[in-house]
Subunit: 261 residues, 4 copies
């Protein structure tokens, strides 16, 4: 069975900005999903902010292996309930790929535990993305570097935790650098942040960017069944202890009482 | 100047449970602060849930080098505004030490980005805490292991991100293990989680536990000035680029316009 | 094509100790290879110390996806040339799984850069191995913990670098703990250390241990082509610079000269 | 008592190359030691390849808190015995700062467990070094970035393990990037790699570079006493077990017998 990816698009500038609409007539989410579907091992669909529950009802997330997230102008319009829902699915094993301006999305900030800021400049400058982890699955088949003639500059410091691995570092024509590809694990969920993708440039039509996205979906996919009750803190009563022990000392909790949260 | 520590205590069971009140007549927070103040390089005061703004107004946090956090029964009563405030200070450089049942505090979950659950058993069993990172500053002066004759069992899986370093692992009499001392960096702030400290046992009167706490405050202290505007994403306009570049391509943002959030 | 695993066995105690010979009539390496071959996606063969080049000539390593290493009494008899060869293959992308007493093998110490010591006791005590990274590929299908009624105690501190991930932690009946499953990346090669496997106990006949080994081979396999010339430091001459620059300042190296090593 | 630093210099090009001799009349090691001694909390001396035991006899290392290492042309002339000795001291708690071309030194490769290669170009191009971990102790007092008008290009992929923390990333005029400041822990020893420092440029006269070096010595200093017998694997006999157990099952080792290595 192919890996089931859902590409979530904010779908705002595609509707309001002629440049973006021209580059991505079906929306950026559709362009990304189309790129994923070039790989017969992947099966990608889309969801957008404007749909009920932003297109991400519980039942759909339960059948999503990897979620890709592109947002920019409307981070604040994403409901906290959906963010909670996505976070819980990541902890339980769903993969998550956060794209470009998604660094400021509620879901990314929630999972990172940091502000996720950076510096930026919209000048259409050249970015050269270097592979720092050769033969990482996300870099499979890639050359030592690839170039995007026009990208938005994102600069350090990128206010995220130390990653599990740094896969890419970007060089910008105007003099900045950026950790452009970072991996994290949050619970059973694999998380990848990938910096390219400003909406006024044709980044998602670039063949190498598309290859990275396909690789990343494969990498982020956790084939194990989702972990149930991932936010619980189960009590293991003394009579069920794995080694024989006797209860000692004063107790706070009456028998069978749930823990505090 | 000594390092300024604030010990935050929920201060609930000290008021409602005779065992806890007996063990910690001035509250657990006071016992911990007293232990810190045995070190002339530290200056510790206390704050509690019941005080206005939980004792943590902005001005006080600005003058706090390291915050210690003990909470259990009333995590939900901590105002989100104070949690936001503490998180921002951590990102800017304040140290944070989260104790025992604080694993489920709002601030710890916020900074970790994971559910922070575990398994537990209140049976007064023996815990033996092994140093896995000998000569780590937090383990300075410690033997290879130390024992607490009565502790609450906290068991794996501990649902936190991979730490920067694993400093302690606990062995429990009933058969479980737990990563009892973990370090993280969140922005410029050093974060340490330390598992011992169930309120019905005299854990914070234990000399080795006290030594760990003093060590941890020293380790968590970042002497640099706090980072300002840590949640910003500053624009670097093209005319100020460090290398000479010319703006190219279509733009989303008018000149001087702030970025989306 | 199945993943090609080679199980390297020291094959000393199988020849000299009746207990070991009785438990593993074909050698521990054969028992492990048989366990791997239960998975149709794996194809495992064996190699031993006593064979020419320890059974690991360059050509065979080039066609090995994942190497498993069990050694104990004869670490010093492994030729440095073979160790160099294995290290180079790992850096280029071969997976490596180091078992039990292999913690003191030349290859593991070489890749870790630390002494890799631990404490130990041969008392046939019970070990309970806890999964600390639920749904990690190496823990796929495993319960929360599994037990080995007789294992050699390996205790902390385990003198290795901080791992990429801690997958397992072992609880020992005699009071110790040990990080029993640790992942590392060394170049393009995935490295996994797995603690159980004392030769006088039937550990490799345990179904859960066998499952871990199969999982680990899948995890360690890097499907990308090996990286060539992984120990080189290529010069990028100024005339081939990706951005136009002119050579400036004094030079140490004449044009075309190789770098120092 | 000030932190005792020893700056080890290969001291070859200072003797054979007029440019290097002109820039560093007393040798690069002296220039670095002088920069460290501007800080009254540091006390730096020097050692060179040409001295007996390369200036690093056991007794001196035992009294060295932090060792800085600059080598380039003569890595192969460093005796393996001295490398072993330095590695053992690092594992026991000595700090180590590896500079520039020291990436290919025997000691750095030994501690990393990887080839430590990179790409390079000697063209006197501009490097701009960005702080990726603001308020890290090694970046204390630094601006967001600093520039070296002439440096040797070192480019990714840098074939080292994932670091504990990435403190600096370098931008090069010719189009490359490099992780210019990386931290590691090896045993009780803190290790920092810092990329700038090509011998034909005045890098070590740069005030910001000097500040980084002073910061790094403070960071790398582990005030705890060195760990003894750091390469041992002590037996914990069954009669001394922390929890009462009885020996079971067949044994490989007679009582009191040392483990295999």
């Amino acid at each position: 069975m192919p890996i089931r990816a859902v590409v979530w698009g904010e779908n705002v500038h595609e509707q309001t900005n002629a440049t973006v609409a021209g580059l991505y007539p079906g929306g950026m989410h559709k362009a990304i999903a189309d790129a994923l579907n070039l790989d017969s091992g992947l099966s990608a669909t889309t969801a957008t902010l404007q749909e009920p529950e932003h297109g991400l009802p519980e039942a759909r997330l339960a059948e999503t292996d990897v979620l890709l997230w592109w947002g920019h102008a409307a981070h604040g319009d994403v409901s906290d309930e959906v963010v909670d829902r996505v976070a819980a699915q990541v902890w339980a094993g769903m993969g998550l790929i956060v794209l470009h301006s998604g660094h400021f999305s509620k879901i990314f900030k929630r999972l990172m535990g940091t502000p996720c800021g950076l510096t930026w400049r919209e000048a259409g400058e050249r970015e050269r993305i270097w592979v720092t982890a050769p033969n990482h699955p996300i870099a499979a088949g890639l050359p030592a570097y690839f170039e995007l003639e026009n990208e938005e500059m994102y600069g350090e410091p990128f206010r995220v935790p130390e990653p599990l691995e740094t896969v890419f570092i970007g060089w910008f024509q105007g003099g900045e650098v950026f950790r452009s590809g970072l991996t994290y694990r949050r619970g059973a969920g694999n998380v990848f942040y990938f910096q390219p993708g400003h909406e006024t440039y044709p980044t998602y039509h670039d063949a190498t960017v598309q290859q990275v996205l396909r690789n990343a979906v494969h990498w982020a996919h956790n084939p194990a069944a989702r972990i149930g009750n991932v936010t619980d803190a189960p009590n293991r009563p003394v009579e069920d202890a794995l080694e024989p022990i006797e209860a000692r000392g004063p107790k706070l909790h009456a028998k069978g009482e749930a823990g505090f949260r």
